[in-house]
Symmetry: none
Subunit: 186 residues, 4 copies
DNA sequence: ACTTAATCGAGACGGTACGTCCCGTCTTTTA
DNA sequence: TAAAAGACGGGACGTACCGTCTCGATTAAGT
């Protein structure tokens, strides 16, 4: 009954990975450095994860960094604002930003990380559905509006504004975005 | 009047850079390989660009890959659809996708590439403004709607859907997105 | 109990080093070339020796090129002549000359090689002492004569004549030198 | 009568060469650095001297570093001591040591520098001959003793002691050396 | 003063080797 | 017998100088 599902010092490894990711960014996250910092031999890392990305994916899954609170404020606008605020925080907070941004932008070219992102967003969508069900029940949402599209517009706008346009996204921006989307979807 | 503004074989270098980027992706784009393929010495590359990113940025600026047609279809909806289609094409066409995606996702962590992206979007926004002016003149746009927000929503949704959610974005998706945004902004 | 004390292919490395030294001289002895010829990766060389000089020093220590026979011919004159002949051979023989000359002349400016030379001469002096003890016992040597001085004069003359003056040093020269020194020391 | 025999800024070049030689040693004496420091273009250096060694040889010939005073103290012992002291000073003084040692040890493998050394020693021997003529006249020297051999023994001993054995050579050493040689040659 | 040839400066270039970093693999110990 | 230790081949990095080349700009005569 010794079916191990990870190395003995898994926690130290994950911790080291997150630290180094935060310190140096994705590209300078070196397996050798993770090994050194976590007090584990490089060989051990390769035994359990075939690549840096696989290790990082496992680390992120383990980290809860992508945790998500599904709000229930009583109104669709409130719920969407809450979600938007969460996304913004994820992308800007000191704690989460390095890992989150690194992971998600690396995604498209990195199958393992892409999978992390995809499953994160899929899971998230699933859990966000009640928001839209409640809104529909309240009559706040036009029938036939695709919740996924709403989330794409909202999350995409924040993402785009912050990372591609290099701009800022304050509370006011969030409100305007939510209101515009809502106006189109209500 | 022969003030040089780049290496003598600049064209060969840019071509090699683009090819290798398309073939191997950003991370495997090696300066040594660019040198070898373009028939230039590694030293020459370092003489002109301090880093891979700087070289890539110059290449992209030179490439016209980010070229943009500002549409004028007679209706805001038509214009936005055209723009959205262009964005989609940029992100998915075999020609442009590798370079564009690589550049833009690398952006946030790479000052030089980020600058390329930012200036691209800034320039683009400037050129798109007439779309909104015409729309306002036609009465298709509510006063006080921020064109930048509209573009953030629209472009962000496409971007998000394709690269983060890992989904597909067909013409129908574009239409829905445009319509939703328009409904909120009209 | 196989604590490694050098790379696995140490022999091939030393051989390549000596060959290249003989072929091209000290200054063109390139670590990359040693790596290539010995079928070892450059990295491996740097793992074991921090510099070209350290590698060369190890090679020379391993090579036995500086091996020394302490003669016992029955007379001080005979012994000194034998030693002088050995020195001459070391400096002129095709086998030894490139390495020996390169090492010893590089010495003053190269700590590692200087150390090789110094320890070689120190060891040598130790082993030559019996020559002088026997000579003293035979009454061939004035009391109070410093053996080191005798060797400095003798070896220095050969060395100076050959390498600095650019002259030749045949058997006759050796005899004259030995006789002059002896006359002053007897 | 404008046959130039050197570049216009020859002095600055020679000065820079000597300085850099003293600062960094022979091996780090870079032509590019000489050019930079002397305010001359690299091309100019190559126009006049085909190699680092040729430049260095010219510099040394120009420098007078190897200047030599032939003593006349009234006794052979005094003259030889004076010469030995000069040699010692040449090899140890802060001013001369770097250049002299570098040049002479580089000699054997460097035709141009070897030539500098050889002609230096040849010239020197010529000028030292009177010492031995006077000594013979005074009856201080056995007939048939080769002055060159005497100088080889003496100079060689100092050289050997200092540079190969890595030892020291104080006034006492010089006296012992001179006396031993003299005893054998008187 | 004017020309004219020697000399120089500026700058780009191909090239070799450097010493380093980190990769992913493999062999050999050790617990 | 699984883990850790550690040596290894390999690829690319970014740098330092090398020695060469072309082409304008200086200079310093000789007329």
């Amino acid at each position: 009954m010794s079916t191990q599902n990870g190395p003995r010092k898994a926690e130290a490894i994950f911790a080291a990975t997150l630290e180094l990711l935060a310190e140096n960014g994705y590209d300078k996250l070196a397996i050798e450095a993770v090994a050194a910092r976590s007090g584990v031999n490089k060989t051990t890392l390769y035994r359990w994860w075939p690549s840096k990305d696989a290790l990082l994916a496992a680390t992120l899954r383990d980290s809860g960094l992508f945790a998500l609170d599904v709000p229930d404020t009583g109104s669709l606008r409130g719920d969407l604002l809450a979600v938007a605020t969460q996304i913004l925080r994820l992308l800007t907070s000191e704690h989460t930003s390095p890992a989150v941004v690194a992971t998600l932008t690396a995604g498209p070219r990195r199958p393992e990380l892409g999978e992390v992102a995809r499953s994160f967003f899929a899971d998230r969508m699933t859990r966000e559905e009640p928001i839209f069900e409640r809104a529909t029940a309240r009559g706040e949402l036009r029938a036939g509006v695709d919740p996924v599209l709403v989330m794409d517009l909202l999350a995409g706008a924040i993402w785009f504004r912050l990372l591609l346009r290099g701009g800022e996204a304050g509370p006011q921006f969030l409100e305007e975005a939510v209101d515009t989307v809502l106006a189109g979807a209500a």
